[in-house]
C-alpha cells in the first residue's frame, strides 16, 4: 500500500512537472509564462525532496523558483514599461524550416542523452562510496558540502565567478528597473520589518548547518537576497555612502577569497584548492561565509539592475 501511494505521488509529480514546463513554454501571455515557471520550480523542489536530494531542493526553491522568479517579474515590469508590444506578440514564433531543424536538433540531443544513460554500466553505484570513505578528511560531515567545497571546490569557484559575470553583464547593459509608482504602504513595510531580521537569521543558520546537514552558501545567499529584494520592494534604497566601494567590496569578497585560497593552495600544497585535513573545516567556513555575503549582494544587485548612482544616465 505504502509503495503504491509513493508511486502514485511520484507519477503525479512527474506529469505535473512536465505539463507545467510545457505550458510555461507554450503560453503566449508572458506574465502567465513567468507564473507557470515559478510553479514549475516549486514542483521541481518537491521532486528533489522525493529523490532525497534536500540540498538541491533547498537551492531550487530559493534560487530556481524564488530569486529567478523575482528577477523575471522585474524584467517583465521593465518590458511592459518600455516595449509593451514585446509582451503580447509571442505568437509569431519560428517558421516551418526553423521549427523542423530545431525539432531535429532537440531529438538528436535527446537521443544522445538517452544513449549515454543506456550505456551506463548496470552495477555502477556512483562516487558515493569514495566520498563516504574520505569524508573524515574533508573537514565537514555533510557529504554534499564536502564535494562542493573540498573534493570539487573548483566547480563551486567557477559557479561563483559565473554569478559575478552575470551581474557585470547586467550592469554593462545599463538596464534600470522601473520603481513602483505608488508608495508601498504600511502593510508591506511592516512585513519587511518583521521578515528581514528573520531572513538574515535563517541565512546564518543555513550557512552554519551546511557543515553537517543540508544547507550552504548558495541557499544562505539566496535567502539573504530575498531579504534584499523585500527591502527594495518596500521602497528602501541603498544609502549613497554604501553604493560606491562598500558595494563592490561585498560583491567581490567571496570570489576574491576563493580565488586567493586557490592560488595559496597551488603554491603551498601543489594542487588547486587541496585543503589539508586539519585546516579544511575552518577554510570551508571562511569560503562559505564570504561566498554567502557575495551571493546575497550579487543577486540583490541583479534585481536592482543598473549600478546604483548611475540610474539617471
Amino acid at each position: 500500500m505504502e509503495t503504491l501511494i509513493s508511486w502514485a505521488i511520484d507519477v503525479a509529480l512527474a506529469l505535473l512537472v512536465v505539463s507545467l514546463a510545457w505550458r510555461a513554454l507554450a503560453s503566449t501571455d508572458l506574465f502567465k509564462a513567468i507564473v507557470l515557471f515559478i510553479a514549475f520550480g516549486l514542483v521541481l523542489t518537491l521532486v528533489w525532496v522525493r529523490l532525497n536530494a534536500t540540498d538541491v531542493a533547498l537551492a531550487e526553491a530559493a534560487i530556481g523558483a524564488g530569486v529567478t522568479g523575482a528577477l523575471l517579474l522585474a524584467a517583465y515590469a521593465k518590458l511592459r514599461a518600455t516595449s509593451p508590444d514585446a509582451i503580447v506578440d509571442r505568437a509569431g514564433g519560428i517558421s516551418g524550416i526553423g521549427a523542423i531543424s530545431l525539432l531535429i536538433l532537440i531529438l538528436l540531443v535527446a537521443a544522445a542523452l538517452g544513449y549515454a544513460v543506456w550505456t551506463l554500466p548496470s552495477d555502477y553505484t556512483g562516487l558515493g562510496k569514495e566520498v563516504a570513505a574520505n569524508l573524515d578528511q574533508s573537514g565537514v560531515s555533510n557529504p554534499v558540502t564536502a564535494v562542493l567545497l573540498n573534493f570539487r571546490g573548483y566547480d563551486t569557484l567557477l559557479e561563483i565567478m559565473v554569478l559575478l559575470l552575470a551581474l557585470l553583464g547586467a550592469w554593462s547593459l545599463g538596464i534600470t528597473i522601473p520603481r513602483p509608482e505608488a508608495a508601498p504602504g504600511l502593510v508591506l513595510d511592516t512585513l519587511s520589518r518583521l521578515l528581514v531580521p528573520l531572513l538574515i537569521l535563517v541565512a546564518a543558520y543555513l550557512l552554519w548547518v551546511g557543515a553537517h546537514a543540508p544547507g550552504g552558501a548558495f541557499q544562505a545567499g539566496a535567502v539573504l537576497a530575498a531579504a534584499g529584494v523585500l527591502m527594495l520592494l518596500s521602497g528602501r534604497e541603498l544609502p549613497a555612502a554604501l553604493a560606491t566601494w562598500p558595494l563592490r567590496l561585498a560583491l567581490v569578497l567571496g570570489p576574491a577569497t576563493f580565488l586567493m585560497l586557490a592560488v595559496i593552495t597551488l603554491i603551498l600544497e601543489g594542487r588547486v584548492l587541496k585543503l589539508s585535513p586539519e585546516w579544511a573545516g575552518r577554510l570551508i567556513l571562511i569560503i562559505e561565509t564570504t561566498a554567502t555575503i557575495s551571493i546575497g549582494v550579487t543577486l540583490t544587485a541583479l534585481f536592482m539592475g543598473a549600478p546604483p548612482g548611475e540610474e539617471d544616465r
Binding site: A182, G185, V187, L188, T190, L191, L194, L195, L198
Partner: protein, 99 residues
C-alpha cells in the same frame, strides 16, 4: 493506532478538505477578491490543521516549534500578499463583484 494517531488523521483530513474547498473557490469564484477570500481559507485554516496534525506525530518540541513557525510565517505572508493583490486590483480599477 493510538489516540494521537486518530487525532492526527482527523486533523489532516479536515485540513485537506479546507485545501480542496480553497482550490475550488480559487477556480470557481467570480472575481479576484472572492478568490483571495477562498485562498486564505486554505492557507490559514488548512495549513494550520495540517501543522497541528503533523505536530502530534513529532518526537521533540523543537520540531513542533519549527512546524508552528512555518504556519505563522505562512499566515504573515498570506495576509500581506492578499492585501497587496487586492490593493493592486483596486488600483487597476477592478470593482468587487456584485450579484
Amino acid at each position: 493506532m493510538t489516540t494521537s494517531d486518530y487525532l492526527s488523521v482527523a486533523l489532516l483530513t479536515t485540513g485537506g478538505l479546507f485545501f480542496l474547498a480553497g482550490t475550488f473557490g480559487l477556480l470557481r469564484f467570480p472575481d479576484v477578491f472572492t478568490r483571495l477570500h477562498a485562498l486564505t481559507k486554505a492557507d490559514n485554516v488548512g495549513l494550520g490543521l495540517t501543522v497541528a496534525g503533523l505536530a502530534l506525530q513529532v518526537d521533540s518540541w523543537a520540531v513542533a516549534g519549527k512546524l508552528l513557525l512555518i504556519w505563522l510565517l505562512a499566515l504573515l505572508a498570506g495576509a500581506t500578499v492578499s492585501y497587496l493583490i487586492a490593493q493592486g486590483a483596486l488600483r487597476l480599477g477592478i470593482r468587487p463583484w456584485k450579484r
